[in-house]
């Protein structure tokens, strides 16, 4: 049986095709203004990638911010439950998930059977999300993709203490004016994100092994900063960005 998971977030939409415990194909596109269209589009693309027709897909589960607008899905399930299913599939040892996306971050605690035990979300505030990194990249005039590599060359993490993204930005500007090295500032930015996220994660209780999901996991600097704050290694799959859609497809298989 072939199933599909469609994860329509506020920034990107993802789709995964799943059969016999295998990922057949996965796609990521920008959501744009219309989540319903984005859901349709990313589904079409992933079908094309696998060389399949829509009729060959037995069940579809939609997740993410736009999950309720995907009319052609059989069920809508929250991204919390889907991330849990996806992460647990990728590695059954996973007991905590830290997800940092473009506009929100979450921590999910799993029980030994992979079910969600508790969760916490930050979807109110840019600090601790990909948005924070974007704002800082603009302030530093550095390409966001270069953040990870640059931060690894830092000799220390410059202190950035503000809770608020706007104030943190002005702290960064002050640091630049004072001649602080960009690498150190970026390390400080990563430490700031890690601080916020780990604080939230500890509210649900952090049990190793921990898996990181979401687009920001591509940033090695953030991964390292999180590992330092947690005093634990993080598992990062190359499917990190599509874990939600993967989980949705897995849940679809159980319907």
């Amino acid at each position: 049986m072939i199933t599909a998971g469609i994860d329509v977030g506020s920034i990107s939409a993802k789709a995964v095709l799943f059969e016999n415990n295998n990922v057949m194909a996965s796609q990521v596109i920008l959501t744009g203004y219309n989540s319903q269209n984005a859901g349709r589009q990313v589904f079409d693309r992933v079908l094309k990638q696998a060389g399949l027709e829509a009729g060959q897909v037995a069940k579809i589960v939609a997740t993410g911010y736009g999950r309720n607008s995907i009319a052609f899905a059989h069920k809508a399930v929250t991204e919390i439950t889907c991330h849990a299913a996806g992460a647990f599939f990728l590695d059954r040892r996973t007991r905590t998930i830290i997800d940092i996306g473009g506009q929100d971050s979450k921590a999910i605690a799993l029980d030994d059977s992979g079910k969600v035990k508790d969760f916490a979300m930050n979807d109110k505030c840019a600090a601790g999300t990909g948005r924070f990194l974007e704002v800082m990249a603009r302030a530093l005039e550095v390409d966001l993709d270069a953040f990870g590599a640059m931060s690894l060359t830092a000799d220390h993490a410059a202190a950035i203490s503000s809770l608020c993204t706007v104030f943190a930005e002005s702290e960064v500007i002050s640091l630049i004016a004072r001649g602080e090295q960009r690498a150190n500032i970026i390390a400080g930015i990563h430490a700031s994100v890690a601080s916020r996220v780990v604080s939230m994660a500890k509210r649900v209780g952090v049990r190793a092994p921990i898996m990181m999901t979401g687009g920001v996991s591509k940033n090695i600097g953030v991964v390292k900063a999180l590992e330092e704050k947690l005093s634990a290694n993080l598992m990062v799959s190359d499917r990190a960005q599509v874990t939600g859609a993967l989980g949705a497809a897995i849940i679809a298989a159980g319907l």
């Binding site: 203490s161 503000s162 809770l163 608020c164 104030f167 002005s170 702290e171 500007i173 002050s174 601080s195 604080s199 500890k202 509210r203």
Partner: protein, 413 residues
């Protein structure tokens, strides 16, 4: 704008307050005694709120410990952020008072600059300063599983009436019975008279010290007062406190006689409102000093001189309840505004600096109205600084520096 011209100060050494050293010694000895293991120490420990009735504790030889004072130390040692984060991990919202968050977290990890406070045998909570302390002490009562006494002091929005008087007087009696029960021995009323007299004397001395800043140049600033405050808060009612403040007062009078001001140049005199920003005292002190502005008085440190009956101060327990009820912070916003206006006139100030402190709602809400009243009645400039007393994550350096500069420009005649 260009930074202020650097002031070269040939009298820098002379300006340092000599008594500071003795203050540190006394406070160190106090904490060392408190942290001595129970078996050797002998004395019991009470955790008490900063506005709480400490005198009966001294009568019973109970060592009073002030989590709020520790909160200040945590802030000053820049350990506030870590502890606040830890509290948030425990489920306490980030918007709660940072003293409470830091202390609740500190208790679980023996945190802060002295590796945690010694465990309490009892908790004494007076809500004259705020309603947060009630919740904070309930948390600690559950955590430490020790008896909790609450002195509930009704607020004087406009009047303090007989029903309130009776309520706090009856609670004073309940407090004594509480102490007798927890300490397992009767209360010594004769000793109470002595401790009461010492407390009153210490308050008189403290007020006299604060009053030396009426002089020009002012021998100290409110930043010095923030430092010397710890003694009247923690050791009020002891001979040590009286002796120390007598020597500090003598030094201040001496400085006045010699014309030694705390600032090399004193162009502007200001009043500070609200708690200090503990982790940035030196930075703030320098910012104002560089701009020749002297913070001559503040509403926080003067808060430890409480209401006294006009005559007969010998029956301390009789008026203790009312004394603790009628503090500056436990009164209506318009009464607080009057107090600030009196202060501006008394110390001949040119402006008021308000610290809008995220952690302290009763002190901060109403400041906008007070600001308006001060501007209307006195026509002087005021400055509002938004920050937090212990949580540095709510402090934005460049924003605050800009505001201070703009304010100083307003003061320039």
């Amino acid at each position: 704008m260009a930074p202020p011209e650097k002031i070269v100060d040939p009298d820098k050494e002379r300006r340092k307050i000599k008594s500071d050293k003795r203050m540190r010694e006394i406070m160190a000895a106090y904490y060392i005694e408190a942290k001595t293991p129970k078996e050797q120490r002998g004395k019991k420990i009470a955790w008490i709120t900063s506005g709480g009735p400490v005198e009966p504790l001294h009568v019973m030889d109970v060592i009073p410990i002030y989590p709020e004072n520790y909160g200040a130390m945590i802030g000053a040692s820049k350990m506030g952020v870590d502890l606040c984060e830890k509290a948030e991990e425990l489920g306490y919202a980030r918007d709660l008072c940072s003293y409470a968050r830091a202390d609740i977290a500190s208790a679980t990890v023996n945190g802060g600059p002295i590796g945690g406070l010694p465990e309490p045998d009892m908790l004494v909570c007076c809500n004259n300063i705020c309603g947060t302390v009630l919740k904070w002490y309930e948390v600690q009562a559950r955590y430490y599983n020790v008896p909790l006494f609450i002195l509930d002091t009704p607020i004087t929005h406009t009047t303090f009436d007989d029903a309130m008087r009776r309520y706090v007087t009856r609670q004073s009696e309940e407090y004594i019975h509480f102490l007798e029960r927890v300490c397992g021995r009767p209360f010594d009323y004769d000793r109470m008279a002595q401790v009461g007299a010492l407390s009153i004397r210490a308050q008189e001395l403290w007020q006299a010290i604060l009053d030396t800043t009426i002089n020009r140049p002012s021998p100290m600033t409110c930043f010095d007062a923030f430092f010397h405050l710890a003694m009247i808060v923690t050791l009020r009612g002891t001979q040590t406190c009286v002796d120390y403040y007598e020597s500090l007062l003598a030094e201040m009078k001496d400085r006045v006689a010699q014309g030694i001001g705390m600032l090399p140049v004193e162009k502007y005199r200001l009043v500070w409102d609200n708690l200090p920003i503990w982790y940035r005292l030196r930075w703030l002190s320098n910012k104002f000093m560089e701009r020749s502005a002297c913070l001559v008085a503040d509403t926080y440190t003067s808060g430890w001189v409480s209401w006294m009956p006009p005559e007969n101060t010998t029956d301390f327990l009789g008026f203790m309840g009312e004394s603790y009820s009628r503090i500056f912070l436990n009164s209506g916003t318009d009464l607080m505004a009057e107090n600030i206006i009196k202060m501006v006139k008394k110390y001949d100030a040119d402006g008021v600096v308000f610290h809008s402190n995220r952690s302290c709602k009763p002190y901060s809400f109403g400041q906008y109205d007070i600001q308006k009243i001060v501007r209307k009645k006195l026509g002087i400039p005021t400055l509002m600084i938004e920050a937090d007393m212990v949580d540095e994550r709510s402090f934005s350096e460049s924003q605050i520096e800009t505001r201070i500069d703009a304010f100083i420009e307003m003061l320039k005649k």
